[in-house]
């Protein structure tokens, strides 16, 4: 019981993020359906974001918004790190762009061959 109580919350999030990366990779590597592979990619994406946010957490920190709740003088000792948050913000938006392009390639392949199975697209296989 005390083991759970002493575990910092960012460590829990870090471990689940890493586990989600593994789950997503497993999905990407074992599925043969292209849309399922892209689902695996988006899970890996979420896992990486969780890892990055958990690294930016500071014990007992509050959101990095300096207003009446957090006076400027105490800012540096009370807020969490804003840099990983900003990076993850960028990563999420780019993740959407990448997913959209991958899905449209999958749709395009489906239109040409009437199948989503990656095994049947053998032209560039070596």
């Amino acid at each position: 019981m005390s083991l759970i109580a002493d575990t910092p919350i960012s460590l829990i999030v870090l471990c689940s993020g890493l586990a989600l990366v593994l789950i997503g990779l497993w999905g990407m590597l074992t599925q043969r359906n292209m849309i399922r592979m892209i689902v695996g990619f988006s899970l890996t994406d979420t896992g990486v974001h969780m890892v990055m946010v958990s690294i930016g957490y500071v014990t007992g920190g509050t959101a990095p918004i300096i207003n009446d709740a957090v006076p400027i003088a105490e800012a540096a000792s009370r807020v969490v790190d804003p840099v990983p948050s900003a990076l993850v913000l960028t990563a999420i938006v780019i993740g959407l762009g990448v997913t959209a392009v991958m899905l449209s390639v999958a749709i395009r392949i489906y239109k040409a061959r009437r199948t989503l199975m990656i095994d049947e697209c053998t032209e560039s296989k070596w």
């Binding site: 019981m1 005390s2 759970i4 109580a5 575990t7 919350i9 960012s10 829990i12 999030v13 471990c15 689940s16 586990a19 989600l20 789950i23 997503g24 497993w26 999905g27 074992t30 599925q31 359906n33 849309i35 399922r36 892209i38 689902v39 695996g40 988006s42 899970l43 994406d45 979420t46 896992g47 974001h49 969780m50 946010v53 958990s54 930016g56 957490y57 920190g61 509050t62 959101a63 990095p64 918004i65 807020v79 969490v80 990983p84 948050s85 993850v88 913000l89 999420i92 938006v93 993740g95 959407l96 997913t99 959209a100 899905l103 449209s104 999958a106 749709i107 489906y110 989503l116 199975m117």
Partner: protein, 83 residues
């Protein structure tokens, strides 16, 4: 020694993420798999609020779980007939 509520909440949310992630790669129905992936994203956005990153939480909720799931659904509709 009692476990703090915030730790319990985090454990609950993280197990929600892992369960929906596992469902997303194992479910046979493609539609359910996509919805599970969106659910994992939604749980993650609540975790970001717990970790004091509200900006990231908003982005994840609107882009990661909203729009991404939507374009997945449109893509499934366009490639109907496959599972």
């Amino acid at each position: 020694m009692t476990v703090p509520v915030i730790t319990l909440l985090t454990i609950l949310l993280c197990s929600g993420i892992l369960i929906s992630g596992l469902l997303a790669v194992t479910l046979n129905n493609l539609l359910s798999a996509v919805i599970s992936a969106g659910l994992a994203s939604l749980f993650a956005s609540v975790v970001y609020v717990v970790l004091a990153a509200p900006d990231v939480a908003m982005t994840e909720a609107s882009i990661g779980s909203g729009l991404t799931t939507m374009i997945f659904l449109y893509a499934i509709r366009k490639t109907r007939g496959e599972d």
